[in-house]
Structures are given as structure tokens and as C-alpha cells.
Amino acid sequence: MLVLGIESSCDETGVALYDLDKGLLAHHLHTQMALHAEYGGVVPELASRDHIRRVLPLTRACLADAGKTLADLSAIAFTQGPGLGGALMVGASFANALAFGLGIPVIGVHHLEGHLLSPLLSEPRPDFPFVALLVSGGHTQLMAVRGVGDYQILGETLDDAAGEAFDKTAKLLGLDYPGGPMLSRLAERGTPHRFTLPRPMLNSPDLDMSFSGLKTAVLTLVRQVEAEHGELTEQLRCDICHAFQEAIVEVLVKKSLKALKETGMKRLVVAGGVGANKQLRAGLNDAAARRRLEVFYPPLALCTDNGAMIAFAGAMRLKHAHAAGAFTIKPRWDLSALPAA
């Protein structure tokens, strides 16, 4: 069974081929980062315009890489939501028409389910059940995952997502969009304990989080430092990045451990763009090693949006595939509304 997966929910066009027996055969990605950089954020209309130019060439490239033809496909999975309406519509139109033309079924995939299951694309593959920490530009959630489609939200951010906090703080420090990865590179050169930032909700009794106060704290700190030193030198900037990253990582690690403890589960699965953060990985690995817990990550290349996770989630839901024809998109779509696979 060979599934073509198509992702176009935001600013990345991703296409991949997943074979139920042989695993991931090919995946191609086009990121629009450079396109949106000069606007300081994703411009939805420009994102859609780019998706429609990329999706077919990327599909061809995947087939060529895998040495497969359209006739080999069993089904097509596409990101049905959540995401930008116009962007989702591009992938949905192409995917459904291609399936309709080929006479094969389609599967509408929930973008977050894609992220959530992406660690199952690496070796060793985690078994169910596990706690998932989903940390991306749009989401920060802890979930109990007992099987495909069995997701219970344990806690989440009450305001900004962790990736959003990284990006907004980076912008405030004068780094180019999207500044998250850059911020974390600068943090590596920062002096530990030079500054300390608050850890919002670190000790709250629940598993919820809050990150918007952190960027305000950074702003205040920057003003203080500028008043004291006359200017924000490169080293001071690195020191602030270090303090910021340390605060966010501590909150994510502590809440993840709390979720594991409360559910009695032994496995933690990390997904989403911030899962690429080295400090976060080090913090989680370290804490897990001391408690005999296991932590799983998606392959580094599959942390951010991609087609592979959509092809894979589609393959896990082949039972839900239906004949191509009328289609819809779901720009807002609650993950807990998904049926079990």
C-alpha cells in the first residue's frame, strides 16, 4: 500500500510517499521562509500563490526519487486542517483532483495528528501509550496518546505557543524572521546565569503553560541592560538569549515530567518545530535518563511541517479513506474531535 501525502497548511509545501511495508520512500519540501522574511511574518495570500506553483513539481520529484509511477499509488492523503484556508485549499484541490483522476481514495489528515505521529517515523519507534509534547509555532500541548486517534489533551499554553515566543522574542532582539532557530544559536554563546528570567506557571498545579509574559520580561531586561551598558552588545544579546531559552526549556521539561508522572506513562514523544531545539533535547534526555523514562523525537528533518508526516498519518488511517469527489477544508479543527483509527 503506497500513500502519497501532501501538506500545504502554512508556509511549507511538503510531499512524500509512504509505503506500509517499506516505510518512507521519498519526501520533498519547499519552505517559503525567504519569501515571507521581508514581510516579517507569513502573508497568507503569498503562501497560497507559492503552494500552487510547488505542489506538482514536488509530487513528480517524489515519484522519481522512489522510482514509482502514479499507477503505484493506493491512496492520497492531504492536510485538511487546521491552517490557513487559502493554503489548505491548494493542497486539497490538487490532491482530490489527482485521486479523482486516478480513481483512488483520499484521506483528509489533521495537521497536528501528523506532527504527533511523526516520531513513529524514526527508529527505534515508540510504542503506545505515550505522552506527546507538541511544541511548534502554533501549538504547545501535552497529550496522552493511547493509539492512533486516541488523544487526550492534558494541558496546553494559555497564550503564546513556545515557537511563537521564540520568534517574537527574536524579533524583539532584532533577529530576522523567523528568529527561533537563530535565537537558540546565539543562546549557545551566552553566559549561563548572567541573567535570570521568570518561569511563568512553573509550579501551577495543572499542566497548562504560559509564554507571553516571558517576552515582556525580555523587553524589560533589554531596556535595563541598555540603560546600564549604553548599548546591547553582541555578548549581552547572547546572554539574554541564553536566559530566555533556559526559562522556556525548564518549563517544558518540568511540565512534561509532571504529565508522565500523572499518567504513569514511561514514554515521552516530542514533535513540532521547537522539538529541533538542542537545549530542549538535552534537558529532556537528561531528566529522562535520571528517571528511567524514554524520550523519542522525529528525525530532525521532519520536526517542522512536512509531507512525510501527512503520508504516514494517512497510511495509519487507510480505513477512513473515501472516494475522491466533493472535498472540504477545516481551517479550525479540534484534534480531540478526531475518531479513533
Binding site: 521581508e38 500552487i52 513539481p57 509530487t59 485549499m89 486539497a92 479523482f100 469527489g325
Partner: protein, 221 residues
Amino acid sequence: MKLLALDTSTDHLSLALTLGGAALVFHQPVGQQHAERTLPEIGRLLAEAGATLGQLDAIVYGQGPGSFTGLRIACGIAQGLAFSAGLPLIGVPTLDAVAAQDDGARQLVCLDARMNQVFSARYEQGQRVGDIAVGAPEEVDCPGEGWTGLGSGFAAYPDALVTRLGQTLIATRPELKPHAAVYLDLAATGRYPPHAAESAELLYVRNKIALTAREQQARRA
């Protein structure tokens, strides 16, 4: 030629299929239901004609301008279908398909572009004169006389177009919109070259979409 044409750039879903003879047509208002309706209706046309995609010579799509999302639905569907059957695509501008519905000597086509603007172009003897423009209806320029005004712009901005242009216009047909059967005729003329499915290029015409970070800053200053 054996062709399937589709346009989803307005509140209508417009489809037409020909295997050489008379066209089978679906042309109806569908509101925002283009994604739900297009493929099933294409399926019905093919079934009615007893045809498969593989028998076609090409798929014709409304290239724009028009509703941005609508344009991409038609283009994405055309690309998916064309790719599945190894067919080329033919893009035809929406305004060309409106102008071709009138047989007078001179046409001024103005389609409502929202935001108090119109997409406009002039046609003489069945040929477009100059590029398709986007701008305020007050600024649509139409020299000489004997023009017929076509398209939704004349209904949306009667003062700025009908009243202002006055004697320049001999008639207006504000109800005309792109029609898939007309795309079939235009594609059959050979004036619109077929191209590989991945080379589809939409005509958005409105290309300034957002302010750059620098422009936002300048505006705040």
C-alpha cells in the same frame, strides 16, 4: 478538439466538455461551494458523454483575474486531473472569455475586483488591446466611442463607470461572466498555447498584497 474547461473564479461553477461536437455544460451559481461541487459535476459530465479524462486533448482553466482562492481551486483541480491523465493544460484569461460573448466591434470589460477596484481590459475586433489592469473604476480609460461595457464591474460601480463614461458606451451587459463553453471556443482557436501541467501561471493582476516590514515601519514613523 476534445476538451474539458473549468472556471471557479466567480460565484458560479462553470464547466464544459466537448468531444468535438456540441458541448455539455454545467453553469450555475454555487456560492462558496466550489470545492464540494466541482469534481462531482465533472464526473457527471464525463459520465453523460461516456468519456474518460484519458480521451481528452487538454484541460482548459480560467487563468484569472478573479477571486484568488477561486482561481487556485480551478487551477489545482485542473493540474491534478491533467497530471493523473498525462494531459496538457490551456490557460485562458477570464476577461477574454467575457469579451468573446459580445460580437460588437469594441468591448470594455470590467470585472469587480473588490476593494473598490476593477480588473479591466479593452478589446477591438475580438483582440485584447494592451494588458489587463487593476485600479479604481474612476480611472478606467476608454478613448473614442462605440464601446460595449461588459462584466460585473458595471453593476458594482454604475456611477464611476456607466455615468462617467456616458456617450463613450453604446450599451452595457453587466450580467456577463466567464463561461466554460466560451473557454472551449477560445481554446479551439489555437491562440492559447497548451503547456505542461506544472507550468500553469495564474493571472492575479493585483500583485501588491502586503506591506514589507520596512514599509510597515515607515508607515508607523
